[in-house]
């Protein structure tokens, strides 16, 4: 793997973001709005509910972590879509660039863009609503790691879907986090779900994050075993997503889709 080539992909995305306010604003605007909206909702719930229970770390913390996951997934997909929109595949893939270097560049780009959103959320949630991640202890690191890895996995899968089925399918990609959220038990315990949804929750790494988040807030210890399993599961999804993307790319090279990629020829 040639890091210079991966850096080129990251640099291309950096140039695009730096030169375009329309790309800078979404990095923090939507997550900031989410923090403000859910921050006031939690304050209101604190005011009307029984004394003693603090909704801020449970609800606002969950929204923050889920938004981070969404930003990671969208970060990968967005970096890929930039090449779709500018019809850059032929230029890119007729170079020595390996597919692993390209995907690596998408992931690093997403790491940068999602970190900006995360910092903005930390600042807003802490400064305005008093959310402190100290209350989660060291578990916050595996929480972020699991959500990052799973976001990367879904982002790469989304890119594979667009590469295989054409640019029009991008509208299936953006709502994927919303589709996953009911099963990931972001706002309620897994036990609340019907049995068939509980089975699905067990194969979704974020469900372990949010179960442990609620456990910590209610005074219990985080389950190390569960978090290790979530990390293993998330890594497995990343590997699976890379395998799928590699397979789709090889199919596209075999059928000529890479050479002829555009809305007209693919969809």
């Amino acid at each position: 793997m040639n890091l210079s080539r991966t850096f080129a992909i990251v640099l291309r995305h950096f140039y695009l973001v730096r030169g375009s306010p329309a790309r800078v604003l979404p990095l923090f605007a939507w997550v900031a709005i989410d923090m403000v909206l859910w921050g006031f909702i939690t304050k209101y719930l604190n005011a009307v509910s029984a004394a003693g229970f603090d909704f801020v770390p449970v609800l606002l913390g969950a929204v923050l972590l889920w938004d981070f996951f969404t930003r990671v997934m969208h970060g990968v997909t967005m970096a890929f879509m930039e090449d779709v929109w500018s019809r850059n595949f032929l230029n890119l893939f007729a170079t020595p660039l390996a597919i692993s270097e390209y995907v690596g560049g998408l992931v690093v780009s997403s790491m940068g863009t999602s970190s900006i959103g995360l910092i903005v959320m930390f600042v807003l949630a802490g400064a305005i609503f008093g959310l402190s991640f100290v209350s989660y202890g060291a578990a916050v690191l595996p929480f972020l790691l699991v959500l990052f890895l799973f976001g990367v996995a879904l982002g790469i899968t989304g890119a594979a879907i667009v590469l295989r089925f054409g640019p029009a399918t991008e509208w299936f990609i953006w709502p994927i986090p919303a589709l996953v959220s009911p099963f990931a038990a972001v706002f309620y315990p897994v036990a609340t779900l019907p049995t068939w949804m509980q089975y699905l929750a067990t194969i979704l790494p974020p469900s372990y994050v949010f179960e442990n988040l609620r456990a910590i807030i209610s005074g219990q210890a985080a389950s190390v075993t569960a978090l290790i399993w979530a990390i293993v599961l998330a890594i497995a999804y990343v590997l699976l997503a890379c395998w799928v993307f590699g397979g789709v790319y090889r199919h596209s090279v075999r059928t000529g889709l890479v050479a002829r990629y555009s809305a007209e020829t693919v969809s």
């Binding site: 291309r12 595949f89 390996a98």
Partner: protein
């Protein structure tokens, strides 16, 4: 020393449709080879297979003796291309585009190389402009500058002068000619401009229905087949391919 490009028995089929059928050819050092033929003859398909963005159904491609199917990255490190249908991303500036692709090709002393190419292709005043706002001729020059970034041993040009005015096209042809004779580079060139082909190419291959029908010196080939110009020969290949045989 191996040829810059060796193509052996190359075929591409899409289901029952044959796009390229068992073609073999070489490009030697300091040689410009014209790949000619009517639309749909298989020229771009061949170039796409050499660039490894299209997998051949059978056959082999070697660039500097390196098998493209087995060592894709190594083979493409010493290759580059410019095509009229592959403009560089319009949302990056001229300089940014060259810098990003220079990194991908692993160009040494990249900033100096970019400066030299900006000057060579008269792109200095556009360096901070988004590529998308350039005229089609300027974009073509930018693509050619990108194609020269890594001093390729094999340069693939798919109608490189299609959108240039005659004066600029002549300048570009001269630059490419110099490029091919100066180092150890070979060029595979497609064009529908037969005067240009006659002027630039050392050898031409006529493709029709995915097969090489004729091969030879563009200056003597028409007479060998009873035609007075290369354009007449081209039209004959396009209309009556069965009447011609590969020499």
């Amino acid at each position: 020393m191996p040829n810059v490009l060796s193509v052996e028995n190359l075929s591409k089929k899409y289901g029952n449709t044959i796009a390229v059928e068992g073609i073999s050819f070489e490009v030697e050092r300091n040689e410009i080879v014209g790949l000619l033929g009517p639309n749909g003859a298989g020229k771009t398909t061949t170039i796409n297979m050499v660039l490894s963005v299209l997998e051949p159904t059978s056959g082999s491609i070697r660039i500097e003796g390196i098998d493209v199917a087995r060592q894709r990255s190594q083979a493409l490190e010493c290759t580059n291309f410019a095509a009229v249908y592959a403009p560089l991303p319009g949302n990056l500036t001229v300089y940014q585009n060259l810098y990003v692709f220079g990194l991908i090709y692993g160009v040494n002393h990249l900033s100096d190389r970019i400066e030299s190419l900006l000057e060579q292709f008269e792109l200095e005043r556009f360096r901070n402009l988004k590529s998308g706002v350039l005229s089609s001729g300027e974009q073509t020059r930018l693509c050619l500058a990108k194609a020269m970034l890594n001093d390729p041993h094999l340069l693939l040009l798919d109608e490189p002068t299609a959108s240039l005015d005659p004066a600029t096209a002549r300048d570009i042809r001269t630059k490419i000619r110099e490029f091919a004779t100066r180092g150890s580079c070979g060029v595979l060139w497609t064009s529908h401009n037969m005067y240009e082909v006659e002027d630039v190419c050392d050898r031409v291959l006529f493709l029709s229905h995915g097969k090489i029908l004729l091969e030879g010196d563009p200056k003597t080939l028409p007479r060998e087949h009873g035609k007075s110009t290369l354009e007449e020969l081209f039209i004959a290949v396009a209309r009556e391919p069965l009447a011609l045989e590969r020499v």
